[in-house]
């Protein structure tokens, strides 16, 4: 065992430092923990705004309901994929889990671009209101991303940038889902553009910063 000899001292030292550890909970359970925070925020928003405006808007424009459903599914699958990739040895294919949900979310929102031609009567957001949406998505994404980063630092994400992109996607999707509750306008090209800009911003910041934050873990 000559290849073992140079490492005997290190193995011995690691042995002396060994203390019992609490095993990491399974990824689905950790995802559920994070989603609980999102649900708590959603409950507060529903208490404040009520559920009626959202239901009326969704009844009038079913494509927005599909987009909302897609955003919720993207948040769940994105967070699940991030937590799974935080465990060494798991298949990298998990990174693609949020793809179908994200396609539904972005695709259905994209129909909103045609809103002014499909239903000219609906109230369309102006630039000022769109800026509010931008601020909403970003300001909710920051704490939700931070929570995911903290939870994932306890794990071991071997591909920090990929995991950080998933964190960005999950928290931006969760924020867009929350926005559905108190969104007063239907999607239009300007509105969709600001949403896309906000999501891209959150994903990019996470990839740039989160990667570094996670790789120190």
């Amino acid at each position: 065992m000559s290849e073992l000899r140079p490492h005997e001292a290190l193995i011995d030292r690691l042995g002396t430092e060994l203390v019992p550890v609490r095993r990491l909970l399974p990824p689905w359970l950790r995802t559920a923990g994070w989603l609980l925070t999102v649900v708590a925020i959603a409950a507060l928003l529903v208490m404040h705004y009520g559920i009626q405006p959202m239901r009326l808007r969704w009844a009038a424009t079913p494509d927005l309901a599909w987009a909302g459903l897609g955003a919720v599914a993207t948040a769940i699958s994105g967070a699940w994929a991030a937590f799974t990739l935080g465990v060494p040895g798991r298949s990298r294919a998990w990174a693609w889990l949020p793809l179908p949900a994200a396609v539904l979310w972005i695709g259905a929102s994209g129909l909103g671009c045609l809103r002014t031609w499909i239903a000219p009567g609906t109230e369309v957001a102006g630039l000022h209101q769109s800026a509010d949406c931008l601020l909403f998505i970003i300001s909710f994404s920051v704490p939700l991303s931070a929570l995911l980063v903290i939870l994932l630092r306890r794990a071991c994400p071997l591909r920090p940038v990929r995991t950080a992109v998933l964190i960005g996607l999950a928290s931006a999707a969760a924020s867009a889902s929350l926005l559905e509750i108190c969104h007063a306008y239907d999607s239009a090209a300007t509105d969709l553009l600001t949403h896309a800009a906000a999501v891209a911003f959150v994903v990019a910041v996470n990839a740039a910063m989160g990667g570094r934050l996670l790789s120190k873990a």
Partner: protein, 221 residues
């Protein structure tokens, strides 16, 4: 639950199934009692589960057993034979730090190989960065051809030997700091992990070692 006890059969299953098996998983009383019917992977999985509970004997057996696997993973990534031991050390330290992320219902070998491959890639990247800073041989020969004669080579050998001797004579703490941070180019946190000293002590020791060496060779305080 006999399957979960020996981590049989559940290897490779997705976490969708953990929904049913995860919370009911039972930790056996003595994992070090590896049975003949167990595969090497299952034996290591059992040792790691015991190590997570604090069993030092199982842990040391596991780490010793892991060295060959780490070397194989590093070789597959293209790490040169003389750098394999560095990757083994880095991987063992990472394994120690993230041992709580291992799930005994899954393959230990897959978990370890993922970490070892990552550390191998890190080692290759940092070597690549170091090599790209070095001057190309032909260019060096064209511009500094006269410096490479036999007497200067002997002189530089002697200088290197004198430096080695000087380092060997330093107090143990300072020698350790200069070996880890200066010669092996480890980061402060890596050196701290390896030596078991805190980063502040390492910095102070490195500073003192450099000062002592400067005084010895140049006579400057």
């Amino acid at each position: 639950m006999s399957q979960a006890l020996t981590a049989n059969g559940l290897l490779g299953l997705d976490s969708g199934l953990c929904l049913r098996t995860g919370p009911r998983r039972i930790v056996p009383v003595d994992f070090t009692e590896a049975r003949d019917s167990d595969s090497p992977d299952q034996r290591r999985a059992a040792w790691m589960a015991a190590a997570q509970a604090g069993d030092r004997r199982a842990y040391e057996k596991l780490l010793a057993d892991s060295v060959a696997l780490i070397r194989a993973a590093a070789r597959r990534q293209g790490v040169a034979p003389d750098h394999l031991d560095d990757v083994v050390q880095e991987t063992l330290i990472t394994v120690h730090r993230v041992r709580h992320t291992y799930d005994p219902a899954r393959s230990y070998d897959a978990w370890l190989t993922a970490i070892a491959s990552r550390r191998a890639i890190d080692a290759l990247r940092s070597r690549g960065r170091r090599d790209s800073r070095e001057v190309h041989d032909e260019y060096a020969f064209d511009s500094h051809a006269d410096e490479g004669d036999a007497s200067s080579a002997t002189e530089s050998d002697e200088r290197a030997q004198r430096l080695r001797d000087a380092i060997a004579e330093l107090p143990p703490g300072q020698r350790e700091a200069i070996e880890q941070l200066g010669l092996r180019e480890r980061s402060l946190s890596e050196a701290a992990e390896l030596t078991g000293r805190n980063t502040g002590a390492l910095k102070v020791n490195l500073h003192r070692a450099l000062k002592a060496l400067r005084e010895r060779f140049h006579g400057e305080p």
